[in-house]
């Protein structure tokens, strides 16, 4: 599986390249021409007001939505559509699409664990059904992933028997089990009680420290400022700002970003900037 990892020589190719991506839902253009590159081996945080299109962009990168126009590359390989010489798009075969998609892991706000499987069952499912691993092998690997998120002693629990924070950590282990090149997070702590966000953020911090490529949509500005190598600020379907935390959060601040950050001052995030 490690053979799917890019060799160090290709590490200067971004993990994700988004080129001119637009997305329409009916008459509304939710993404209005996004260009973004996500560096390999670092954490990029995507912030912005609610409804600005963060989830839609992340879902396009996970190929849960198809971009209306534009191209997305995963380590240089086209996702979903190949671009012809004249810029026309043609759909790739389902196998090709799945091959590229399998290099991306996704963690949802709502965890989306399968309720009829135990924690270990959730982590092992794709290893057995997709990767055709033997159940015992898959379980060894699954246990290793569960210990990585500190849940090896919850392997036999069903999602309903776990706290929200534990469920989200299982969901992270499930994504990690497939050894993805990039992990996408869509507001992973937004549906958790405040006292449970820490355990999930800590796991994510460990992943970032271990050199994984993370793309995180988050309202945890403190996390973005301390863990994010790059911050992208999305507003009304446009990528307004993209830079280091210092560039974005330091003075002078872009007025729209300033406005957006104001809403967090009450929550004590200002002290973290």
């Amino acid at each position: 599986m490690s053979s799917t990892r890019p060799s160090p020589a290709t590490d200067d190719i971004p993990a994700v390249t988004v080129k001119g991506v637009t997305k329409r839902f009916g008459d509304t253009e939710v993404l209005q021409g996004i260009d973004l590159s996500v560096p390999t081996g670092a954490t990029t945080c995507l912030i912005g007001p609610s409804g600005s299109g963060k989830s839609t962009l992340l879902r396009c990168i996970a190929f849960l939505e198809e971009a209306t126009t534009g191209t997305i590359l995963i380590h240089g390989d086209p996702l979903g559509f190949a671009e012809g010489p004249n810029g026309q798009r043609s759909r790739l075969s389902p196998q090709k699409i799945r091959a590229v998609r399998s290099r991306i892991g996704m963690v949802f706000q709502q965890f989306n664990l399968w309720p009829h499987m135990t924690a270990l069952g959730n982590v092992c499912e794709a290893l057995v059904t997709v990767r055709k691993m033997k159940r015992s092998e898959a379980e060894d690997l699954g246990m290793a992933q569960l210990s990585r998120v500190g849940l090896e002693n919850r392997a036999g629990h069903y999602p309903s028997e776990l706290s929200g924070g534990q469920q989200q950590r299982v969901a992270i282990a499930r994504a990690l089990a497939l050894d993805p090149e990039i992990l996408l997070f869509d507001e992973p702590t937004a549906s958790l009680d405040p006292e449970l966000t820490g355990e999930v953020l800590n796991v994510m911090r460990d992943l970032a420290d271990s050199g994984m490529t993370l793309l995180v949509v988050t309202h945890e500005i403190g996390f973005a400022a301390t863990v994010g190598r790059r911050i992208a600020f999305l507003d009304h379907g446009k990528l307004l700002l993209n830079g280091t935390p210092q560039e974005l959060f330091g003075e002078p601040r872009h007025p729209r970003l300033g406005q957006f950050l104001e809403t967090y001052l009450d929550r004590g995030a200002a002290t973290l900037l």
Partner: protein, 222 residues
């Protein structure tokens, strides 16, 4: 009303054989009806629009007419189109088709109740469409619709009584016949009511048992 159970005791072998016919025809038509209903619901959800439209019409007709009428049409009307069936196969086919219409509606609602995110999570880890149906949607749906399925099974056990109309030798026919011969029709019907009620209670009990076993993963918070 003179309850003469001694008299009924003499007829025990017949009664037991009637009970047996009721039981197996109920179990088989429930299982086949649920399986067929699942196929119909799946075809309606994933098949072409024309298939969905056609099956919807069939389901509407089956749900909009009495089982008694459907059974008459199958058994007495069948020969006019070259379909000549013995009572037992006719009853089994009729009950299965009748059941499948209701089961398909139960499963259709079940499909809609599986959270979209659970399917998306499966897509993200690379499961194919059929793997998602088999590994995620079908099991999740089963636990969501289990109470309605138990309810349907209970309705079906009572519907088996109608099979007596086309001379299927099930419980109602056997006990009804004994009652008429012995001029104790009310007693016989009373006994019959108790039999059905006990079967319904057993079915309900098994359903609750299954639900309790599934409950730990039924209400996953998400």
């Amino acid at each position: 009303m003179t309850l003469d159970f001694g008299l009924m005791l003499d007829k025990m072998p017949e009664i037991l054989s009637g009970l047996w016919v009721t039981l197996w025809m109920w179990v088989v038509s429930t299982i086949l009806g649920a399986a067929l209903g699942f196929l119909v619901a799946t075809a309606r959800r994933y098949g072409p629009a024309a298939v969905n439209w056609f099956l919807k019409l069939c389901v509407e007709i089956l749900r909009g007419t009495p089982f008694l009428v459907q059974l008459f049409l199958l058994y007495f009307g069948g020969p006019f189109v070259g379909l000549r069936l013995e009572p037992v196969p006719a009853g089994l086919i009729g009950l299965t088709i009748y059941a499948s219409a209701y089961f398909s509606e139960i499963f259709r609602a079940g499909f809609q109740a599986v959270p979209r995110g659970h399917v998306e999570a499966a897509e993200c880890v690379g499961l194919s469409r059929t793997q998602i149906l088999r590994r995620i949607i079908a099991p999740e749906m089963t636990m969501l619709v289990l109470p309605q399925c138990v309810n349907m099974a209970i309705i079906l056990i009572k519907e088996t009584a109608i099979l007596s109309i086309i001379t299927v030798p099930e419980m109602t026919m056997v006990i009804g016949a004994i009652g008429s011969q012995q001029y104790a029709f009310v007693d016989a019907m009373f006994l019959l009511a108790i039999f059905y009620w006990v079967l319904v209670e057993i079915c309900g009990f098994l359903g609750r048992l299954a639900e309790a076993r599934l409950s730990k993963f039924r209400f996953a918070v998400s």
